[in-house]
Amino acid sequence: MNFIKRIFSPFCLTISVLLIIYTYYKSEIYWNGLNNEYYLFYYIFFFFFFFFSFISFFINQKIKEYLIILFSSVVLAVFLFEGYLTFNTKTKSYKLKKTIT
């Protein structure tokens, strides 16, 4: 746990910076700035994440432990649900929709 606690803040900070750069690439380079409205939420979310990562360097170790548990639970739940949407054949009705052109 000590190792995880040590790398948690730098890890979050690195991920948030990478996500902000990726959002900028998608919004301004890939979509030529035509979908700024859609990417606004991602900018807000990732800047909030960046801010949170920065704060996490200075918080109490006990709170950090809770945050790590909370963070990993949320990530796990999100990917489990994504896995369900990806691999559950019953959710593939969107493919039928594509036949209407």
């Binding site: 979908n35 859609y38 209407i100 052109t101």
Partner: protein, 328 residues
């Protein structure tokens, strides 16, 4: 469909297939992105009513009698996706043909399958002629999602960012025909090799699916609304300006989908589209409230009461309503 095509091709070399414009490679040796099909050909389209609809394409590859382009004045010009294109009925049962019959005036169909708002606007930029009185933008609820693909297309995006951009497609029909013929050959090869490749594909690691999983694409798509509302408004505004400059009146026709009165249908999208159209002061023809809502069982307008394009009576009712609306 390929089997039908190959059988008919043996009887007459003029038979061809309807190929969606976005099925052609964006980067190709002809350096064009077509917005129509092969010209002056018997085009095999689709089968939803128990027969393959086939039409003779005009000089630009659209579903019109060729002589329509020679008329001095064009009363109706329709632009849209497969519903405007005429899927899956024969002439004279498609929207444009019924309008032509009812009004006894000229009508041109610029619809093509898989079109979204940007391709429709690009089609108008390329093919709109000066003597058109009424332009109909035929909207189907999947158009907004088509816009996502269109905006990422390097050629199409130029129609939005550069008001003087043109591919001069009217003068490049020979190239369009060659490109689509190449695409048909590619599709044939791919289908013939599909069975051979099936076993290989099973063993392959699906990178696209993996990346999509990492990016939690499906979850995000189910939470966030479709991209492009502001782009849709921008495209519609440009279309209005284009038609105004051409002295044509623009109408927006909202076509209902099979699920319109079911739980699955998003009323928000419908309200949003209506709001955008009203804001731009474009005449809105709501086919759902004008036709489908008044019918006891609106599913009779679909082939065998099943999800798909409209059937002959569906197109007829809609065209009658559009005709009456414009004659008021």
């Amino acid at each position: 469909m390929l089997q039908i095509y190959e059988d008919l091709k043996k009887t007459d070399n003029k038979y061809t297939l309807s190929v969606y414009p976005d099925s052609n490679p964006i980067v190709n040796k002809y350096k064009i992105f077509p917005l129509s099909g092969i010209s002056n050909s018997k085009t095999i389209f689709c089968n939803e009513n128990g027969y393959y609809s086939i039409y003779e394409s005009d000089r630009y590859g659209f579903n019109n009698p060729n002589i329509e382009w020679d008329n001095k004045d064009i009363e109706y010009l329709l632009v849209g996706d497969s519903f405007t294109h005429g899927a899956c009925v024969n002439r004279p049962n498609d929207l444009t043909s019924v309008l032509r019959t009812l009004s006894k005036k000229s009508a041109i169909n610029l619809g093509y399958s898989s079109n979204g708002p940007l391709m429709e606007y690009a089609t108008l930029r390329e093919y709109l002629i000066p003597n058109v009185k009424k332009v109909f933008w035929i909207y189907y609820p999947n158009d907004l999602s088509d816009l996502q693909y269109e905006i990422s297309n390097n050629v199409l995006i130029k129609y939005l960012s550069d008001l003087n951009f043109t591919q001069k497609l009217k003068f490049k029909q020979n190239k369009i025909d060659d490109l689509i013929n190449d695409t048909i050959e590619d599709i044939k090869k791919r289908i013939n090799n599909k069975d051979k490749d099936k076993d290989k594909e099973k063993d392959k690691f699906n990178y696209k699916k993996f990346i999509s999983f990492i990016k939690i694409s499906k979850l995000r798509k189910s939470i966030f609304p479709v991209i492009g509302n502001s782009n849709f408004e921008k495209i519609l505004k440009l279309t209005k300006d284009l038609t105004l400059a051409n002295n044509s009146k623009l109408y927006f026709v909202y076509l209902p989908e099979f699920n319109h009165n079911k739980k699955k249908f998003s009323k928000n999208d419908y309200a949003l589209i209506k709001q955008i159209v009203n804001k731009l002061d474009i005449t809105f023809i709501d086919i759902y409230s004008e036709v489908f809502e008044k019918e006891e069982n609106p599913l009779v307008f679909f082939p065998f009461n099943l999800d798909g394009h409209y059937n002959v009576s569906g197109y007829k009712k809609i065209a009658e309503k559009i005709y009456k609306f414009t004659e008021r």
